[in-house]
Symmetry: C2
Subunit: 154 residues, 2 copies
DNA sequence: CAACATGGTTGTATAATACAACTATGTTTG
DNA sequence: CAAACATAGTTGTATTATACAACCATGTTG
């Protein structure tokens, strides 16, 4: 009986290991696109989608500490891809916007990503694609929900 | 036509983002088990499975740089969970083995993990479980294969 | 207005990670 | 067999991602 569970969990562990590897690959490989890292691209993309974005929103999207958010944004400002304006309605808040250079780079990196994504896509059997993507959503959400209430060994 | 592709890729990006988040959660949460981090547990588990393991093998399993492998192993040696013996047949090589304390901790952390995995499991509809796990394998492998040949923007 | 809440940055510290240089041991080959 | 090459691992050095706590400035509310 415990065996059954254990086996299942062995699978899960393997999957976590796989995800951890794959995440690492992506961060590294994508780093070679126009000098933008994976996280940096996420930020550019989030800003591109919303036109303007507060740090607070961003920190939810990235789901990292707000201090981390600041540090991730800083290099993008320095490279001139983002502007950090004050929000009109709340003087505490920041409003991130893409510079034209930022838009440019965002587009270029998308092209890189597309080529990578296509390669990934080609390694998934056509008739499975939909199912696979859906399954992963289910899985990721399952973990997020579990993590929300999770606090181990306390 | 490009739209179709783009949309698909938007999905993929979302998934990568999700994976990156989820990976981060796990590293953090699991860190609370007996002071063992996710990677450290992977190492303990790999050694436990094989009884003994060379650094070379381990560095393949973790798929990180060999120097990183060394640094990940070191704290486990220091905590007395692993022993670093010389291999008999090759004096260059190392043979990692679990100490009894290591076995003990390995087991304890498994219990923590089980409880987490069960929570995850409970958030996946029963009739989908098999499908979801299989899909993720397909996906992870697809990425690994793509990453193997991947070198962007060159 | 005083107390509390929110948005953000900075100080400080740590973990994970890479790459290059190096040591020591093995293997192959002219 | 000695020289050249290959392999196993560690260490030096640097960077990135990350957290937590302390802090400042601005808003909101009793």
């Amino acid at each position: 009986m415990l065996n059954k569970i254990d086996e299942n969990c062995g699978d899960l562990l393997e999957i976590f290991v796989g995800m951890s590897q794959v995440t690492r690959y992506c961060r590294q490989d994508i780093a070679f696109c126009e000098g933008v890292t994976f996280h940096q691209f996420m930020i550019l993309d989030a800003v591109a989608k919303k036109k303007e974005l507060s740090m607070a929103d961003l920190h939810v999207i990235l789901s990292v500490e707000k201090s981390t958010t600041t540090r991730l944004v800083t290099p993008l400002i320095q490279k001139g891809l983002l502007r950090r304006d004050r929000a009109e309605n709340d003087l505490r808040a920041v409003k991130l916007v893409l510079t034209s250079e930022g838009k440019n780079i965002h587009k270029k990196v998308w092209v890189c990503l597309l080529s990578f994504f296509n390669k990934v896509s080609r390694n998934i059997p056509k008739n499975q694609k939909d199912n696979v993507l859906k399954s992963i959503h289910i899985f990721i959400n399952a973990i997020k929900e579990a993590a929300a209430e999770y606090s181990c060994c306390k």
